[in-house]
Amino acid sequence: MLAVDTPQYLPENIFFGIIAFIMVVSALRVVTTRNVVHAALWLILVLAGVAGNFILLGNEFVAVTQVLVYIGAIVVLFLFGVMLTRAPIGADAHLDNDQRPLALVVALPLLALMGYVLWDAWKDTKITEAGPPIVASTSVLSDSIFKTYLIPFEAASVLLLAALIGAIVLARRD
């Protein structure tokens, strides 16, 4: 799914290649590293790569959402959870377990399925234009949030309510 192979899009294609490589390597490191905090840090790199790809696609608002919510809040929450309970400095031998075959059985078909779906949907489509005029995308997005997807948007607030109640339940003593 590269952009058109014209010289005009060469920088985009180069950056996509670099970002994709970094993302794959760090995604592997997330699962192979033996330190929980390191795993979280590699995860940040993966998420930052996703943000970078959104910028390449010209949707900056989604990119900044990715950074603000995922990197700035959710991984912070992970790290808090890890650091506040027990984060042994150095490798943790118990981090890995012997369920690799099982994990493979789950992961490989999933990879195949998702790969097939992607391939099936796009075939050899190329992204011809750089999308809509880059910056207008935020207002396009607002229109779809507040008109087309109004019900899911309001439902999101209920979801947040559920999350907060969950937080309270977690923190209770009894």
Partner: protein, 408 residues
């Protein structure tokens, strides 16, 4: 109108990036980089000197005239100091943490408009080597959200420094600091949104442009501090101070309890990088205050080139905030942690949320000719309901809290 302002992007790249544009970019970046380093150096000196004055001391007065080179001397000294690697530290993260702290500090400055031709209806552009450009490093379409993103990344530097040191005071300090930074980020975001609402744009350049003209009665400037009715400005200044971990919110390095906080185990240049980040963030944050609320570099330009006046206005406005930061430090005692959390969560966040909705209602009522009395009543009702809900929740929480203590 909104989308037209939104589309404003640096005209330098209007025809794509060629060699000239690239060279201009590099020149701008190098100048900004040097400017930031010098400004940070001077800020450290300014703070020490001013605090000394306020405390009836002399302060640094040996290196250079009025001790102005003191920071340079201190920095140079730190290059020659031993690198101590604490035995319990997690080496890789320990080395990485200062970078996570000072790189966002540099990047934050990208979106601050430093100058430009704003006088007499100018659009803030200048001519540089035959190209039209902005006097700000970058004007990404996400604008001010870029600043929020950078400050959310800066949390990691503090957090990981404390964890990787393998020592208890840094760990305690960093847990405190990251919870504090996270708490005030929400209030900050909401008060920034008020400025977005009033100026109708997210790009920092657009914000300055919409604040440049004449405001109320042609006496006051059209600054967002007035058009957002002061409250978001106050909230943003408080939240910004807390985000910087500066006094009176410097619980992170409460020396009676935590030695030096998250960077206790850092020595030599690694400590210097944290120190640099802290003061650079102070300078940049003042710049962001000015951009958001005080019209950035805009102002009258009686004689001479307009961009020079832009620089002067920007410098004067920023210095006012730098002075304020130092003044806070010399005057205000440190908050207690529960006071800090109460202020952030129970006052600033609800207030900025309510203010945002109120501003939107007021703006819309002007545009759509709604009945002002009805709007006013609705706003007052909203604030009353919100306040009484919060109050009763608070009372209940306190009762539960006491019961827990006695019966546990």
């Amino acid at each position: 109108m909104t989308s037209a302002l939104l589309l404003a992007a640096d005209p330098l790249y209007a025809q794509g990036v060629d060699l000239t544009a690239l060279l201009i970019t590099i020149l701008k970046v190098v100048v900004a980089f040097a400017f930031l380093l010098v400004a940070t150096m001077l800020m450290v000196w300014f703070e020490r000197k001013l605090v000394s004055d306020m405390q009836n001391r002399i302060g640094p007065n040996r290196a250079g005239p009025w001790g102005i080179l003191q920071t340079l001397a201190d920095g140079t000294k730190l290059f020659f100091k031993e690198h101590i690697n604490p035995i319990r530290a997690e080496r890789r993260v320990y080395v990485l943490a200062p970078f996570l702290s000072f790189v966002p500090a540099f990047l934050l400055f990208c979106i601050v408009p430093v100058s430009g031709n704003w006088a007499n209806g100018g659009d803030g552009t200048v001519e540089l080597f035959g190209r039209t450009t902005y006097l700000q490093l970058a004007d990404p379409p996400v604008g001010i959200l870029f600043a929020l993103a950078m400050s959310s990344i800066a949390v990691y530097g503090v957090m990981l420094a404390g964890w990787s040191s393998g020592s208890k005071y840094p760990l305690l300090g960093s847990v405190r600091a990251s919870a504090q930074m996270v708490s005030y980020e929400a209030a900050m975001g909401l008060s920034v949104m008020a400025v977005v609402l009033v100026t109708g744009t997210v790009s920092t350049h657009g914000m300055v442009a919409s604040q440049a003209g004449d405001g109320l009665f042609h006496v006051l400037p059209n600054w967002a501090v007035f058009t957002t009715l002061l409250v978001p400005f106050v909230i943003f200044v408080i939240a910004g101070t807390a985000e910087l971990n500066r006094p009176p919110f410097d619980l992170v390095e409460a020396e009676q309890e935590l030695v030096a906080g998250f960077n206790t185990e850092y020595s030599s240049i690694r400590f210097a990088l944290f120190f640099l980040a802290e003061f650079m963030n102070t300078v940049t944050m003042s710049g962001i205050f000015v951009t958001l609320f005080l019209g950035g570099p805009s102002g009258p330009a009686p004689i001479g080139p307009a961009w020079l006046w832009g620089c002067i206005w920007f410098f004067l406005k920023t210095s006012a905030f730098l002075f304020m930061f130092v003044w806070f430090r010399a005057t205000l005692p440190r908050f207690r942690y529960d006071q800090l959390m109460d202020l952030g969560w129970k006052l600033l966040i609800p207030l900025s949320l309510g203010w945002l909705l109120m501003l939107a209602a007021v703006q819309l009522s002007g545009q759509q000719n709604w009945n002002p009395v009805a709007v006013g009543a609705g706003v007052i009702l909203m604030f009353l309901i919100g306040w009484s809900l919060l109050r009763s929740a608070n009372a209940k929480a306190r009762a539960v809290h006491l019961g827990e203590e006695v019966n546990a």
